[in-house]
Amino acid sequence: MMDRYIEQFPVVINALNIGFLQTLKLFLVTLIGALPLGLIISFGSRSKFIPLKLLVRFIIWVVRGTPLMIQLLIIYYFPGLVFHNNIWGGQETGRFIATSVAFIVNYSCYFSEIFRGGIAGIPKGQDEAGLVLGLTKSEIFFKVKLLQMVKSILPPISNEILTLVKDTSLARIIALQEVIWAGQAFMKGSQGISGEIWPLFFTAIYYLIFNGILTVLLGKLEKKLEYFK
């Protein structure tokens, strides 16, 4: 009994590592894409130009109002189904790009609402003070308000980041081979191991450890920002 596990362990861990690398890649790409895009969208949703504001808020409503899983299916399959032009290709790279697009769009909408709240939460007096000192509007935003906003939105952003780590598992719906996919492969049979359940449950350890590391890092960042009382 024990022998079987000892024999299987390196094979399974190797496959799960490859899967988790894909998970990590998706996580990082999403974060790098969605944070700046979220900031741009938050400007759009605060715009004084009403049509733009309504359009952006409509998009946010649609993206936040539909499941990410459906968005993945739409982004990956619709170009081929509706426009008869499969822009992604069937290979792993195409699937990864499509998944990244869906995740970045989805998460940037959530981030944009957090940013919007953060910007709105900064007292108006600071704008006025900035203007009196002769700063331009963009100088006021980037030099005065941005870092204070970052401090106040860090806890909700941290929340979203931890959720993002786990949401990457949805990508398996369009056959992106992330860590859960890799674990499930051993239930059906892969690399000579079939009918094994434990690799699937073992993937939870990966998420747990990675989210543990992130929690510590984000906690440290929060401490660093504490001097803005």
Partner: protein, 276 residues
């Protein structure tokens, strides 16, 4: 600053819209990729143009699985490779989510589904299918210690079954009037029985032979009754002209013995269907 941002945002959206637009226009140029059910599709030409046949598979021993060097082998994989060679194109295997096989085909991310696919009514109506090349059966899986309690198929009616959603096993469960839970795949159905959350499962005999019994991951389970016999086929897009090509190829390789040779290699020759 604000104005600049507005302009950037509007431009991004305009670009997104034109991207959709250009997708539309390019499709009207190459009308051949349209997939209306009755329309015939010149897939042969389009795969020759791109120089490869993209085969949708899952990791499913002994039909499609990876060898030590990470190459796809198995009865289906070898036959698909030979078929692509016959057509003069490269073969490319892509792992797909089995639930989405029809979606993958219709959206053009793959050219065929070649993975021990049972020719059910659903499959036949969603795809253009080749002739059957393998015979298979749906069989009942029970824990070893309970087998003696259930002497015939009727006695199974009191049990809760686990079956793969949309599979031939689910059809059999319905046909026999069993109470069942539909789960994600056949492996999940086995896990249900092993975990005791379901009493029994219905899966493929080819799969059962590999996964259940002594020396497998489920030593405490065993297989009992066969509920039906069924056939494996290859699925193409509806109206695809590759279906006829493959039928001709199957006949040729059956007659010259290469199909049998490949089947022997993977231990499925007993299941091989005659190609007339």
């Amino acid at each position: 600053m604000k104005k600049l941002l507005s302009i950037i945002l509007i431009m991004t959206m305009a670009m997104a819209l034109t991207a959709c637009q250009s997708g539309k226009s390019s499709s009207s140029n190459s009308g051949s990729s349209a997939n209306d059910s009755e329309q015939s599709v010149d897939d042969l030409k389009s795969i020759k143009e791109k120089g490869k046949l993209v085969v949708g598979i899952t990791d499913f021993e002994p039909m499609d699985y990876k060898d030590a060097d990470n190459n796809w082998i198995g009865f289906d994989a070898d036959m698909a490779t030979a078929f692509a060679k016959e057509l003069g194109v490269d073969v490319e295997f892509v792992e797909i989510d089995w639930d989405n096989k029809a979606l993958e085909l219709e959206s053009g991310t793959i050219d065929c589904v070649w993975n021990g696919m049972t020719l059910t009514d659903e499959v036949m109506s969603a795809m253009s299918c080749s002739r059957a090349y393998c015979n298979n059966a749906q069989i009942v899986i029970l824990p070893k210690d309970k087998v003696s309690d259930y002497p015939d198929v009727d006695s199974l009616k009191s049990l809760n079954f686990a079956v793969e959603a949309g599979s031939a096993g689910e059809q059999e469960a319905t046909a026999n009037g069993f109470t069942y839970t539909a789960v994600k795949d056949q492996a999940s159905a086995l896990m249900e029985v092993a975990a005791g959350t379901s009493d029994a499962a219905i899966i493929d005999s080819l799969m059962a032979a590999a996964m259940v019994g002594d020396g497998t991951g489920y030593p405490d389970l065993t297989y009992t009754f066969g509920l039906n016999s069924e056939e494996y086929g290859v699925g193409f897009r509806k109206g695809s002209n590759l279906t006829d090509e493959l039928n001709a190829f199957f006949k040729k390789s059956y007659d010259d013995g290469t199909m049998k040779e490949t089947a022997d290699k993977y231990g499925v020759s007993a299941a091989l269907a005659e190609q007339k």
